[in-house]
Amino acid sequence: MTPFEVVAAVGMLTGSVLCLLAAIGLHRMPDLYARMHAATKVPTMALLVTSVGAAFVLTDAESLTRLVLIVLLQFLTAPAAAHLLGRAAHDRRLTRSKHTVLDELEGPDLRP
């Protein structure tokens, strides 16, 4: 294997293990608000690591453009969707576990 392929292999394996950790975290975390940490941030990071690894093997311009677009789009959209889901659940009074101590949204609703 060339050095580039070694970097790609390390990237792809790291991304896969991060996905596995995210899936395990989905079962281990006590409530929805904690689970969303595992289920949204970790796989986004995994996609970044995997794409950087893939960029060391797929080196033509078309592939690199697409990989950059994939990572950019994921980093822009994943937090927005996750935030809306968590906000909707909080608005509808989904209870949180006693281990989740801080609720930044409690108190009067200040949205216009």
Binding site: S16, V17, A46, A54, L94
Partner: protein, 86 residues
């Protein structure tokens, strides 16, 4: 390289099964939506790995599509939860 991609795909398959098990185990709609979102991101990861395995950049277009699908589905479920409750 084929061996490495095989190992990565096996790990991703196991994590996808664990994520889908969460969908079956939970009874809260938002919980299931989050778990399915994770499943979709695992599929995106697997598509990147397969693109490396085949040396084919057509699959990267599919990854873009899967990312957009995850975003829109998240928004839709959020709207649903706002109306009907979690």
């Amino acid at each position: 390289m084929t061996a490495v991609t095989t190992i990565a795909l096996v790990i991703l398959a196991v994590s996808a099964v664990i994520a889908v098990a969460k969908v079956a185990a939970s009874s809260i709609v938002v919980d299931r939506a989050v778990a399915l979102d994770l499943g979709l991101l695992i599929v995106a990861n697997a598509l990147v790995v397969v693109a490396v395995r085949w040396g084919d950049d057509l699959l990267l277009d599919l990854v873009l599509l899967v990312g957009l699908l995850g975003f829109v589905s998240g928004l839709t479920v959020a709207r649903f939860v706002e109306r009907r409750g979690p």
